[in-house]
């Protein structure tokens, strides 16, 4: 398949249900970003405490407080991004977004519900994600609970123009 024909294929994907690879890659990007931000915040807090009190603070992975704060942070990160704009930074990079099951824009409370239901998909070895592979609409467990779906939101028209401009 020629590169131009491949580009034409990408254009036709806009608005359709996003597949497993795009969603997984978006999640990986989000995981890296959210973990990086969390680590930077912990490092900043440790440095501040060290400067103010003179005592060094070490954060351990097994620390329950750190785990709870990390879980809350992840909940906020995904919930806020989905509720505010329908996409996380990782989803923006991969060109996908969350919409309501009927395709309308997602509302904030539905984004929050999706974020709360998201951990459930990880249970039983990620059984909740199987729907992305097997279902026609590529909806995971948290999508079914929140009444959402993920579609390609990539501005394919502009992309194709850029592609054609590049020759």
């Amino acid at each position: 398949m020629s590169s131009q024909a491949r580009a034409a294929g990408w254009v036709s994907a806009q608005g359709h249900y996003a597949g497993a690879a795009s969603r997984f890659l978006a999640f990986i990007v989000d995981a890296v970003i959210s973990w990086g931000l969390f680590s930077a915040a912990l490092a900043g807090i440790s440095f501040s405490i060290n400067v103010i009190t003179g005592h060094s603070v070490a954060w351990h992975r097994g620390n329950i407080v750190v785990t709870v704060i990390f879980a809350a942070w992840e909940l906020f990160y995904f919930g806020y991004c989905w509720g505010a704009g329908g996409k996380t930074p990782g989803m923006a990079v991969l060109g996908v977004r969350v919409v309501r099951a009927d395709g309308a824009d997602i509302d904030p409370w539905r984004g929050a519900v999706r974020a709360l239901a998201f951990p459930l998909s990880f249970l039983f070895c990620g059984l909740g994600f199987v729907g992305i592979l097997l279902q026609r609409e590529h909806r995971a467990l948290h999508d079914l609970i929140a009444g959402t779906a993920v579609v390609y939101a990539w501005d394919a028209r502009a992309s194709r123009l850029r592609f054609l401009a590049r020759g």
């Binding site: 580009a7 994907a13 608005g15 795009s22 890659l25 009927d102 097997l134 609409e137 579609v151 592609f163």
Partner: protein, 196 residues
């Protein structure tokens, strides 16, 4: 002497003075008529247009040797009397240029031949590169170039991801023996007007 000859001689003696007298009388009469004639009044009564209508100008001009006529004209002397500035001042250049079909004109221009006469190296040497660089927003150029590269990379990543999505989807459909293209979309996005 023959009587006929005598008669002829007598007639001649009488005719010559009479003829001379008639000539003088006619000249005098014509002179008096011309003096008493108002030429301007006469010309005004002539229908010049009617006269000219009956003149075969084309035929007359066809008999004129124009080259021969022009060969007698001193064009330089003629042009020396022409005030070219005043003449050009009366020309509406904008209107004149507006009537020119520049596209048609350029179609007749051999650009390759034209450019072959241009010494590009000499032209480039005349450019003040320092001023050019100072006036160029290199930051914007670099930012635009970087943005373009980032856009290319992003398009490539997204394109690869969509390709993988389709590959996985194809295999799943094959394993599940499911028919269809697999390209489904929510109703509002299939028909955007329905979702708005």
């Amino acid at each position: 002497m023959d009587p006929f000859d005598r008669l002829r001689s007598a007639r001649k003696r009488v005719a010559d003075p009479l003829e001379s007298l008639a000539q003088r009388v006619a000249e005098r009469v014509i002179d008096l008529v011309v003096q008493s004639l108002d030429v301007n009044e006469l010309v005004q009564r002539i229908d010049v247009n009617a006269v000219l209508d009956e003149v075969d100008i084309d035929g007359t001009l066809s008999r004129v040797d124009a080259n021969n006529l022009l060969s007698h004209v001193d064009v330089d002397m003629l042009l020396s009397d022409v005030d070219v500035d005043a003449l050009l001042g009366r020309v509406d250049v904008d209107a004149l240029i507006g009537r020119v079909d520049v596209d048609a004109l350029l179609r007749h221009v051999d650009m390759d031949a034209l450019l072959s006469h241009v010494d590009v190296n000499a032209l480039v040497r005349r450019i003040d590169m320092d001023t050019l660089v100072q006036q160029t927003d290199l930051g914007a150029v670099i930012a635009k170039s970087s943005g373009g590269m980032a856009s290319v990379a992003l398009d490539a990543v997204r394109g690869q991801a969509v390709g993988m999505d389709r590959w996985i989807d194809r295999w799943v459909r094959r394993l599940l023996r499911r028919k269809g293209t697999g390209l489904l979309a929510p109703p509002a996005l299939l028909n955007p007007e329905a979702g708005s």
